[in-house]
Symmetry: C2
DNA sequence: GCCATCTGGGACAGAAACTGACCTACATGG
DNA sequence: CCATGTAGGTCAGTTTCTGTCCCAGATGGC
């Protein structure tokens, strides 16, 4: 309850609250003398956690940004919030950090108290899958796969091949790779006696056997290169769009996310949007549809086509 | 570098990796004797972190789910992934855990090394704002507000009133409240000398003054009740939809998220969807539009109208 | 300008802890 | 049956930690 290491953890936890803590209050909370608190603060600083202190009356301690990430001490609700956010990010593949998202999710899920697990899934109800293209990947499956890869544990799963033929697999997983909006598992197939890359969306019911396998050498520079070499289904074509939006630039900026690309005002009531990133047609189309204002497409022509198809489908649905 | 508390933290960090660690390997990594590792494991268990150990050869230690959340030790990329996920969740208001998301985000942002901050915002580029209704709230603003509230720090910001009149405010923030798909800041306005609830989407450039204010008594049961009493703009009306989807139930399930509501197969090629949750028309419309299959709306009639408007807008845009 | 209130840190003595080096018991898989 | 792993007892020496004295310096309010 009150030995030194646990007290340090508690102190870190208190300091992570975004407020100032006078040393006296910390001392009271942790049931030690103020002098000990000062020493503990010193210790934390030596460990690399930057504790800023403001002098004078009204002063106090607080944890600020440093060079390394301190251990995050979360309460129940915060833990659930993080799990939900990561599930969404991993499942919908936020570009650039997919693999880190899944790793972090695996960490959180591994230690998430069971009473909180069901809350994660129920809350997830409110989320909408973003990726418009192709089947979605179950984030829970992803965490199973990443855990098995990290632990080099043998894995069983069902696999539906490109032809649609189903098979049972027993593999030694190496790594999870994200490429071209898809997840791949690079693993050594024990039945086929060779390396394979599996599309995760075609994997069903992955189940870790609990047996550790000794690492093998992959006949490629790394897992990503292996997938790149094997992959037959190169990702969907991507486009960059140019559209005129009939809404003031200021209003648009807030609704396009953080880096909407290049938004140039034309006049008081309209602006020109040049999405600097490349994205799939479906993504671009939905993004525009959700904007809620009138607009005109200049580039690419395929986007106009996509929008016509969308409009027709929606119109048919409305009857 | 190698005193006891820091070693315990390192040990926790190692055990959070989803794999098995034999005691000897841990001893080597932490530069202590295996006996000390066993003692450390004991200590962690006493602190409430459940370390599972498998006996026999091929055995080892690993951290499993317990009753409390252990401190999360993250590497750079994982930290960024969590921040991105939370930003998305907080900004788009995943129902039910909005306030916890913002609290967690404030914690992460507070200690996130500065070199990682810009990565969070650049990665966010790929995200799409979900909430279709009303202006979006900047997650960064939210973290500033929640930090100031927790620390009882005086706050300055610009405010655009319901009439559109701009004003400068100096307030003592009490709490951030989420109600009816909107964020409100409950605070004591130092110029008006009274309690107010501010809509966060109308707040610009919040800036903490660094001055702590002594807490005042709110003339209401709690902040949520205060907002509920003051709020003139009751949230948007919500609806529950019933639609027929012209796609196999199995294919739809994967693309609707985790709790899509009630999906009942009609035949091999179509199914009936009853969204059990209430949502805004805009949300429902976009959700259907993104589904990518043919569908027919049965309930509510307002949704059909919304879809007709959407279709018309998109059709005009496609030219 | 004074005072209250905070951080920062030195010195010291007694108490508490931590560690490594033994040892044995027990579980597991080949 | 053996190798390899966890589990845990004991012991002695050392280290560390704590509380209680101090006093210096910074800051904001009166």
């Amino acid at each position: 309850m009150s030995d030194t290491p646990s007290r340090l953890l508690n102190l870190l936890s208190l300091l992570q609250t975004p407020r100032e803590w006078p040393g006296s209050e910390l001392a009271e909370r942790l049931r030690v003398s103020p002098r000990t608190i000062r020493r503990d603060i010193d210790r934390l600083r030596e460990l690399g956690y930057p504790v800023r202190s403001s002098m004078g009356a009204e002063g106090g301690y607080r944890l600020v940004a440093g060079t390394a990430m301190p251990p995050l001490l979360l309460d129940d609700e915060e833990a659930v919030a993080i799990a939900v956010g990561l599930r969404a990010a991993a499942g919908h593949a936020v570009a650039g950090i997919e693999e880190a998202s899944v790793r972090a999710l695996a960490k959180v899920i591994q230690v998430l108290p069971s009473r909180l697990r069901h809350r994660v899934s129920t809350v997830n109800a409110a989320t909408m899958p973003l990726a418009g293209d192709g089947p979605t990947v179950d984030p829970d499956d992803l965490t199973v796969l990443v855990a098995a890869s990290a632990g080099a544990e043998r894995l069983r799963f069902g696999y539906r091949d490109g032809d649609g033929t189903e098979s049972k697999r027993l593999v030694e997983p190496l790594r999870l790779v994200h490429a071209g909006r898809r997840w791949y598992l690079v693993a050594y197939d024990n039945h086929r006696d060779d390396w394979r890359s599996f599309r995760v969306d075609r994997i069903t019911d992955p189940f870790p056997t609990g047996v550790r396998a000794s690492p093998r050498e992959l006949p490629a520079e790394d897992a990503a290169a292996f997938v790149a070499g094997r992959r037959s289904d190169w990702g969907l074509p991507t486009f960059r769009m140019v559209v005129t939006l009939h809404a003031p630039a200021s209003r648009v900026a807030g609704r396009l996310g953080d880096a909407p690309g290049d938004v140039r005002p034309i006049d008081e009531h309209s602006c020109l949007l040049d999405s600097s990133r490349d994205d799939s047609l479906e993504w671009l189309a939905h993004r525009m549809a959700m904007l809620g204002c009138e607009f005109e497409v200049h580039e690419p022509p395929q986007l106009a086509e996509q929008l016509r198809a969308l409009s027709a489908r929606v119109s048919r649905a409305a009857g």
